[in-house]
Symmetry: C2
Subunit: 177 residues, 2 copies
């Protein structure tokens, strides 16, 4: 169940995130690391382009889910990227949100606190076929149970087509169609 | 009537605003104007503190009204500052929003397009007495009519206590109590 945001809270969280980025730039300028400051600005602009791309898929609920995820007290950090063409994925929006909700819920239940965990979500959009890659890096209490949960998500249009597991990494690829 | 924002649009507008600020910093760094870039960062941080202050008054609808105002196709730009103590102004929130709505509506109806108009809104909070100062700079079609409209706002707790008028400036001070 997605959190219902009000404008006030969105503005507050967003301001907080941007000020953190600004502090990074400011800190580097204070140390005369101008080139590093420029790099950070470029990184922020690239990330913002990704956000704009995500926002152009006619899937506002999905965009909201991803862009507000890190404000919601999860036990890991979500990063994301959108690769490929921009097109209307509204027909799959509900399913992708549901799949993400199920997977992240499992992860939240199984990660070891208070380690530094990351989930990189990649939305690959090619030829009107959506691949959703979840690359989780971190320690979980039971790798096999996690794998099992990912193999048994209950979302109509999503099919797990690949699952690679290393020591501290689980990469799962879902085909959405 | 305040616009009802959804999270998606708030994020989009907010990102757009912040990227504009970032471009200013980037532009100055590209020209080796590092000191100017630092100044801009300080200005942004000061403005963000004002936003945080506005957000600490337990008046989320008022904060939302002010912070989203410039996204709403008005004929002038709104800037704001909060001076004085931070305290709970929730009892006056509805009235302040109503007063602002009435005043800005009059201004929108009377400003000359497409000049560069500004409204500086100052919220002065002293001894649990609120002063709202509206400093409008720009050309309007009829200064006297504007003055008359400001003198006759219909908001219970608001009283116009000062009105100064120069050629291209109208400063009106309301006491809210």
């Amino acid at each position: 169940m997605a959190k219902k945001w009000n404008t006030f809270d969105v503005l507050r969280h967003s301001r907080h995130d941007w000020l953190n980025r600004l502090q990074l730039i400011k800190g580097n300028l204070a140390l005369d690391h101008v080139d590093r400051a420029k790099e950070i600005i470029e990184e922020i602009i690239i990330q913002s382009r990704q956000e704009a791309k995500l926002s152009n898929l006619n899937a506002p609920k999905l965009a909201e889910y991803i862009l507000t995820f890190n404000w919601c007290n999860h036990l890991f950090q979500l990063d994301f990227e959108v690769i490929g063409d921009e097109y209307d994925i509204s027909a799959y929006e509900v399913d992708v949100v549901e799949l993400l909700t199920q997977c992240t819920k499992v992860l939240d239940a199984m990660v070891e606190i208070p380690e530094d965990h990351h989930l990189l979500l990649t939305l690959q959009l090619y030829h009107e076929e959506i691949h959703l890659v979840l690359d989780f890096q971190g320690e979980v209490s039971d790798q096999n149970k996690l794998k099992l949960a990912f193999e048994n998500t209950d979302v109509k249009s999503a099919k797990l087509i690949e699952l690679e597991q290393n020591n501290q990494e689980l990469v799962s690829t879902f085909l959405i169609k």
